[in-house]
């Protein structure tokens, strides 16, 4: 990914062939990895992975590199932004493919089913928990993710996640008086 950060973005968005070739070489491993991971649940073959990856590159250079020109290096690293774009493209690719060709019987049931939002939705008084506290509780309890995994995502150490989790639960318990013996039940 180091090479990716060394790409001359101005030359790239001007359509310079050599810069495009260097960019493709540097970006392909990342785009390949993101597309494969994104399409894992779709049970697709190698050709679909290739086509979806090609869609990412097409989208990047389409209309005189319009999408690439929207990338702002001051806001995010190029690899991170590319990974987000690649994921979106891969999902779009599969949506188009399914709309165009796939009989409904071949679609995995998980994609047809309406998600049970009932379980996902919360009604915690506004302002009781911060957005980060909610996110951490979702990851730990709804997704059953490991503290270390969440810490890596949020670029903090595991202890910070544990501490944030602990404070969030204290607030919730205080609000709903879960542990209060005087509550009487």
């Amino acid at each position: 990914m180091a090479e990716l950060n060394q790409i001359d973005l101005q030359a790239l968005t001007r359509g310079d062939k050599r810069t495009w070739d260097a960019f493709v070489l540097a970006a392909a491993p990342l785009i390949n990895a993101v597309v494969r991971r994104t399409l894992t649940s779709y049970r697709v073959g190698e050709d679909d992975v290739m086509d979806a990856a090609q869609d990412v590159f097409v989208r990047l250079c389409a209309q005189d590199f319009r999408l690439l020109k929207t990338y702002d290096p001051a806001r995010a690293g190029l690899p991170t932004w590319l990974s987000v774009v690649a994921r979106s493209c891969a999902i779009d690719h599969m949506r188009r493919r399914r709309q165009a060709t796939e009989p409904i019987d071949d679609v995995p049931e998980a994609f047809l089913g309406v998600e049970d939002r009932h379980v996902e939705k919360l009604k915690i008084p506004e302002g009781l928990l911060t957005a980060r506290q909610v996110l951490i509780l979702k990851y730990l309890y709804d997704e059953e993710r490991d503290v270390v995994e969440v810490a890596r995502l949020l670029s903090v150490d595991a202890q910070t996640i544990r501490s944030t989790h602990h404070k969030a639960l204290l607030r919730l318990r205080a609000h709903f008086r879960e542990d209060d013996p005087g509550d009487g039940g």
């Binding site: 990914m1 001007r14 359509g15 062939k17 495009w20 493709v24 392909a28 491993p29 990342l30 785009i31 390949n32 990895a33 993101v34 991971r37 994104t38 290739m50 990856a53 090609q54 590159f57 097409v58 250079c61 389409a62 005189d64 929207t70 995010a76 690293g77 991170t80 932004w81 990974s83 987000v84 994921r87 379980v119 996902e120 939705k121 919360l122 009604k123 915690i124 957005a131 980060r132 909610v134 996110l135 509780l137 979702k138 990851y139 309890y141 709804d142 997704e143 993710r145 995994e149 969440v150 995502l153 949020l154 670029s155 989790h165 639960l169 919730l172 709903f176 879960e178 009487g184 039940g185």
Partner: protein
């Protein structure tokens, strides 16, 4: 006063017991905002709406973890075919056209029918244009009838030459057969 005491629920049970109440539709997150958040470049205030949106959308939550995982480790090389196909999207010709191009190229660009990197389409249109020009020139130059007449003349000349050559060969064979 009741002597019963509520059994304290585990943290997970408490959280899940709260998970049955409605909340608002998650806000859309732009690709740039999500990337900035994944990179940890947002202030707490700027990150809050992104985190709220990610928290509200299970697909986005999984995506965020997946991307963080991929970005945090060395990656295997991409298949060569992927690199070759992607490189072909931008060719030297396109790069030249982007920096100027001939009058016909500029006219095509002016039509805005071929915006974007579609070298195959562009080359196809150029080929069709070449065929039209060639056909026009051919018709102006006398058309198919004259061409056929010319071809027929050429064929007659070739055929008479062939007959002469055959006769000549027969004479040679005759002398050769006699050992001359």
């Amino acid at each position: 006063m009741s002597t019963e005491r509520r059994t304290p629920r585990s943290d997970k049970e408490l959280w899940r017991s709260l998970a049955s109440r409605p909340e608002g539709v998650p806000a859309a997150v732009s690709e740039m905002d999500l990337a900035a958040w994944l990179d940890g470049r947002l202030s707490e205030e700027a990150a809050a709406p992104i985190e709220a949106a990610v928290a509200a959308d299970p697909v986005l939550r999984r995506a965020a973890l997946d991307l963080a995982d991929i970005l945090g480790k060395p990656l295997p090389p991409a298949p060569g075919r992927m690199v070759v196909r992607a490189r072909a999207l931008v060719d030297f010709e396109v790069a030249r056209e982007a920096s100027g191009g001939g009058p016909f190229g500029k006219w095509l660009s002016g039509l805005r029918l071929f915006a974007g990197p579609r070298p195959a389409l562009r080359q196809g249109v150029m080929a069709v244009a070449a065929v039209v020009v060639a056909t026009g020139g051919f018709m102006v130059g006398g058309g198919l009838g004259e061409s056929l007449a010319q071809q027929r003349d050429d064929y007659s000349a070739t055929e008479s030459a062939y007959v002469k050559t055959t006769a000549s060969n027969e004479v040679s064979a005759f002398f050769a057969g006699d050992g001359i």
